[in-house]
Amino acid sequence: MITVIQLVYLASATCFVVGLHLMNSPATAGRGNLVSAAGMGAGVLATVLLIIRSGMITTTGWAVLLAGIAVGSVAGLLSARTVRMTAMPQLVSLFNAVGGGAAALVAVGDVLRGTGAGAPVALDVAIGAVTFTGSLVAAGKLQGLVPAQPVVLTGARAINLALVLVMVVGGVSLAVFGPNPLVTTVVGVAALAFGVTMVMPIGGADMPVVISLLNAFTGTAVAMAGFVIHNDMLIIAGALVGASGTILTKLMATAMNRSLASIVIGGFGTGDDSGPLTAEPTARVREVAADDAAIQLAYADRIVVVPGYGLAAAQAQHEVRELAEVLENRGVTVSYAIHPVAGRMPGHMNVLLAEANVPYSQLRDMEEANPDFARTDVVLVVGANDVTNPAARRPGTPVSGMPILDVDRAKSVIVIKRSMGHGYAGIDNELYTNPKTGMFFADAKAGLASLTAAVKTLA
């Protein structure tokens, strides 16, 4: 019987790997999700058999378990059904929080029984608890419940150092002397506090990195829970998530031109390390009206749209798709160039455009899009700023070295923007003063709608 259960666990783990593998193409990704869910279902059923067979569970235990699962399932289902796609980062953060929290609780429960090895318990409780509060703060920042600006407390570094010290000393003592409820509680409380003090100083613009990092943490905490209760399926699943989170963290940090250490230490956007603000007076920009911009777009062969977070914030995904459709009906080729950090989590902009019915075949990532800009007639930049700044190619600016979309290599550029305001890097965008750039000052949603209307009036 135990062998059968172990085999089902192995099958579940295989389903998770195959499910993730099928995510390598939009055409098979839906099937991947089903395969993964089937693995989950099989794993849960096998565990039901396992606990019935062990005969240890009390009637109250069953009641508590079923009640917990029922409450959690309803909450999960409702939030998953109703969440808006712009709010996905918050939801993913909340799922990170509950996953990490559950992993920590499993280790605490194990300590109360007086079983288990100390080192995995320490790691599970510490990582799980940090993830729990850290993800809640991150979700709060994304939702606007917690200030998105970096919040730096006085003496924050000393507090963080003290908390880390408590976790390390407690963890080592657990590993050496075995599980102890009091020490476990101390480590857990320190980790809960550290989760808050770690994420509070991180600015809203760095959230894609933070979410990815907390995702990696959750995976690791779940793998540690697998060590605690000796379950290989948990170890495998946790390691897969840990790997995924680590890869995404690295990609996001590279795309933002920031080292992970500098993000976690915090202070971005506070202006103290953004270098001397530009000394020369802002050069003149060329302004275009909706009619002129519409003519430029309507008579082009090839157009690339560069959407940024400003487009999502204005909920203008549907307007941009309408404009693209009108242009395509005139025979213009339209595609979208998407920078890795266009949005509040990895790949966020792709989901927002997919929601607006943009076919994924038109979505280009940075590596695909950059070589094509030189052959593009008009680039339409909507709500993107720093990721198009050519200043990133020379040294000595706050954005230097950041991978950018080579928008300035196109034949002409139209930028829809509300004002000449700065992006997160706090510097002027040299693209705007380029002679081939026309600035169309408008709100993303209204601006796109007026362009669409203007194109429609052309014969």
Binding site: G43, L65, A67, G72, G109, S212, L240, V351
Partner: protein, 90 residues
């Protein structure tokens, strides 16, 4: 313990290999799918519930089960919802 560690390291390597092939377009659904997978901690919550017999233990088991179930159900439903939006032609 050593066998568990081997499983952990090898799974990490498989994870890196499989996930580095996922295109940027699907990174949000990928993260959401990974999120659902760590909901497997529900198994830990079940094992915990089967072994406790004190009020404190029951509270821990209830919270762990509720957290993990929200993670599993919400994770798979929202991933499915997102992936349905990705279409090749309108």
């Amino acid at each position: 313990m050593l066998a568990d560690l081997s499983v952990f390291v090898l799974s990490l390597l498989i994870g890196f290999e499989v996930i580095s092939k996922v295109p940027v377009t699907l990174h949000t659904p990928l993260m959401s799918a990974a999120n659902s997978i760590h909901g497997i901690i529900v198994v830990g919550a079940m094992v915990l519930a089967a072994s406790v017999d004190t009020p404190l233990g029951y509270v821990l088991a209830f919270l762990a089960a509720a957290f993990a179930a929200a993670n599993v159900v919400g994770g798979y439903v929202v991933t499915g919802r997102m992936l349905k939006m990705f279409r090749s032609r309108r």
